[in-house]
Structure formats: structure tokens, C-alpha cells
């Protein structure tokens, strides 16, 4: 569970007790108060762009050739199926070297980097990822000829209605 989406639940016992004493009332449930606590700095679109530039330098990135396949709406942010595929013959002459995946609002902008070679046969990978909140994902393919291609998807993440206490 990503902290920053549910600040209300991650109240330390000590903080809550102090708050309750101060408020002068007993609240039974966890979700009734908006006390913000442990909350790491989240990535922003700016952080993501910086991270992208950090990985690929000043190279020109074009859209096309790469397809990022993620459902537009997911019922839980903990296991989102992600598939990335690049249109390439995957021969010694022309193949995909790497695919990088970035996100906008998780604490870190990186998701994964996949390394291919002509032996891959097909530049396609599937995995499952975690997203803290609804946000944009960007995938960038680095081809053997030095060109960069990108695709992006906006994902809406819904959260569970009732949350479990920390165990």
C-alpha cells in the first residue's frame, strides 16, 4: 500500500492520542480524522521529466513504434498489468536496446528498464506495477540506431472502499 494516497490511515498511535486529547473527544475509527503523517515527497510531472532526461540525455524523443498497454481504469493500484511492445525486426542490424518506463506521481519516477538484444526475437515485456494514485505512465524505447521513441498512458486508479488497519 502506498502511503501518500491514504494519509488518514497511517496515523501513528502516539500522534493520534495527542490529537484526541487535544480535540477532547474519542473518535473510534481511523478514517474519521485528517491528520497527515509519514508522507514522502511524491514525484511530480517535473520530477518525471528530469528523470527521463537523466536517463536519455538531450536526445530527441518521437512518438511511435512503441506501444504502452495499461488499462485506463484499474480497481486496485497494487497489481496493474503493464505490457510494453516495440515494433522492430530485432535483427543485428535493427533492434531495441532498452525500454524505460517512468511514472508521474509515485515517490520515485522510475518503474523499470528492460534490456533486449537481437536474441530477444520480440521486444515485448509484460509485468505488474504499483501506482500510488491516478497518473501518467511514459515508456521510452532506445533503438540500436540511437533513436528514441515514446508512448504514454493515463491511468485512473481506484482505491478500496474499506481499509485494513496496519497489522
Amino acid at each position: 500500500m502506498m502511503v501518500e494516497t491514504r494519509p488518514k490511515t497511517h496515523v501513528s498511535r502516539a500522534t493520534r492520542r495527542e490529537f484526541l486529547r487535544a480535540a477532547g473527544r474519542v473518535a473510534g475509527g481511523i478514517g474519521l480524522m485528517s491528520v497527515v503523517t509519514v508522507r514522502p515527497a511524491s514525484a511530480t510531472p517535473d520530477t518525471m521529466n528530469k528523470a527521463i532526461r537523466g536517463v536519455i540525455g538531450e536526445a530527441l524523443v518521437r512518438t511511435g513504434k512503441i506501444t504502452l498497454d495499461v488499462p485506463a481504469l484499474v480497481e486496485n493500484g497494487n497489481a496493474i498489468p503493464l505490457s510494453v511492445s516495440v515494433d522492430s525486426p530485432m535483427t543485428e542490424a535493427a533492434y531495441v536496446r532498452r525500454v524505460h518506463v517512468f511514472n508521474e506521481k509515485n515517490p520515485q519516477p522510475y518503474v523499470a528498464t528492460f534490456h533486449f538484444s537481437p536474441r530477444s526475437g520480440r521486444a515485448k515485456v509484460s509485468t505488474r506495477i504499483r501506482l500510488a494514485d491516478s497518473q501518467k505512465l511514459v515508456a521510452i524505447a532506445e533503438l540500436s540506431d540511437g533513436s528514441f521513441w515514446s508512448d504514454s498512458v493515463d491511468v485512473v486508479v481506484t482505491l478500496a472502499a474499506c481499509l485494513e488497519e496496519p497489522r
Binding site: G29, P71, N76, A79, T158, A160, A161, C162, L163, E164
Partner: protein, 264 residues
């Protein structure tokens, strides 16, 4: 009440039982409309469950399979020594649990039954509730019932416990003063925040819940609901959970088992 009614009530085994029975019948989801939680999920989550090579619950099933052959306890005995091939001996078992335990004079769920075997037959210590080991073994046994129709037995000894479970299901409780029935009998066509309200049938347990990022039992899921309702959850292993599961399985009769399920 008239004398005739008195006799009827006496035969039924208690006024409360009769009352609860008739109240529950009115709210029960008709057979034709009964649907597994699977049918409420997105295609992607359904796909995650369907493919045995990608279903995360299979990691626990595989672990349970390894445990099945492992000699345990002072008796140095494995499950396999008594129960042989699980695919044969355990087929359909999870679909008719909880079952009555004659020694304890009450029903037990599958995990408790496994622990009873461990202590009585293997002379090993019981596995902790929600532990990897207990979930793995329970998942392996439950997986042998995949596709089996949920068919509660006619065991009369279970009746008072099933009734108690039914009463709990219909009981308004917690700070939100909600009963299970209000969401899961009356409002299963709706949504709570972004999530679909299912009919709450325990067809897939133990299951991999995406919210937990791990495998968990029906008791853990019920505790989640109780906490969500701001009601006091019982300790793991409480007879209240078993009684509730007994009723929920009766309520789900006719549906196929689909453990290890994946749910959001």
C-alpha cells in the same frame, strides 16, 4: 401464541431460529441471481486469476503441495501418508466446509481442520493463523475443489450454528450500524466509493487480495469488513467466524469453488 404454533416453534428448535429463518429467506439472493465475486471484477483481474502461470495465489498452492509430502511432528508423518493423492482425496472437501467436529461439538473451518490433523495425527504444533504455512496448506487443499459445486451437507448438528451465522449476517453493528445483509443482500448491484459491492460469496478462499499484496483467509477478509464498519473484529479462530462462514457457504450453495482466487 396458540398451542399449535407452540408445537411448531418447539419442533423448529427455538423461537429465535424460526424468526431468523423467515427474515433471512425474504432477503436471500435467488439462485438465478447468485454470482461469484469473480463476475464483478475487471477483465484484467479475471485474467490474473484464470492463468495458473500468472495467478499469484499459485505460489502458496505450490508451497502447500511441497508441505503435503513433508513428514512433520513427533509422529514423523506427512499428509500424504494418510491422504495419499490430494487431487483424489481432497476433491470436493473445501466445497462442503465448515464441517462438524464431534470432539469439539462445533463446526470447524478448513484451516482449523488442518491444525487438528497436525496436532492429533502428526503430533506437531498447530500452524499460526494467517501464517504462510497455514495459508499454503489450506490453499493446496482448497485448490483440489476448484470447479466443485458448493454443497453444504445436511448435517443437522450444524443447524444451530448456521442460524447463529445467519443472525450475525443480519445483525446491524459497529459505529456505522451496518449489517452484512444491507450491502451484500440488498445493495450488491451498487458501488461503495469506486468499488463494486459483491454478493460476498466465499467461493475463492484462501485468495490473493491485491489490496493485501498477499494471500489471506476468509477470516481476514471478514475482519476487514468489520473494521470498515467500525465494529469490533473477533480474534482469529473465533467460533463466530466459523458460524458466519457456515451460513455464507449455505448462502452460496450452487456456485462453483474457484480457489485460489484473485480479488481486488
Amino acid at each position: 401464541m396458540s398451542l399449535a404454533a407452540d408445537r411448531l416453534v418447539a419442533r423448529a428448535g427455538g423461537f429465535f431460529l424460526l424468526f431468523a429463518f423467515s427474515v433471512a429467506l425474504a432477503a436471500e439472493i435467488p439462485r438465478g441471481e447468485r454470482r461469484s465475486g469473480y463476475t464483478f471484477m475487471s477483465r484484467e483481474t479475471q485474467a490474473m486469476q484464470d492463468d495458473r502461470t500468472t495467478n499469484p495465489g499459485m505460489l502458496w498452492v505450490l508451497e502447500g503441495e511441497a508441505m503435503w509430502d513433508r513428514k512433520e511432528g513427533a509422529a514423523n508423518r506427512s499428509c500424504a501418508q494418510c491422504h495419499r493423492n490430494a487431487a483424489k482425496s481432497m476433491k470436493g472437501v473445501a466445497a462442503r466446509y465448515p464441517a462438524f467436529d464431534a470432539k469439539l461439538h462445533r463446526p470447524v473451518d478448513l484451516a482449523q481442520r488442518i491444525n487438528i490433523c497436525r496436532t492429533a495425527r502428526q503430533q506437531a504444533s498447530p500452524l499460526a493463523y494467517e501464517s504462510k504455512e497455514l495459508l499454503a496448506l489450506t490453499a493446496y487443499v482448497a485448490a483440489q475443489s476448484q470447479g466443485s459445486t458448493i454443497a453444504p451437507t445436511n448435517d443437522k448438528r450444524l443447524t444451530p450454528f448456521r442460524s447463529a451465522g445467519r443472525d450475525f449476517f443480519n445483525l446491524r453493528q459497529g459505529q456505522l450500524n451496518l449489517s452484512c445483509a444491507q450491502c451484500h443482500d440488498d445493495n450488491w448491484r451498487g458501488r461503495l466509493a469506486g468499488s463494486a459491492i459483491t454478493q460476498a460469496h466465499p467461493t475463492g478462499y484462501p485468495l490473493y487480495r491485491l489490496e493485501w499484496q498477499t494471500m489471506g483467509s476468509l477470516q481476514r477478509r471478514i475482519r476487514n469488513c468489520l473494521i470498515g464498519m467500525r465494529a469490533e473484529p473477533f480474534e482469529y479462530g473465533a467460533p463466530n467466524y466459523v458460524a458466519l462462514e457456515l451460513y455464507m457457504m449455505w448462502r452460496a450453495r450452487g456456485l462453483p469453488m474457484d480457489s485460489p482466487a484473485v480479488r481486488p
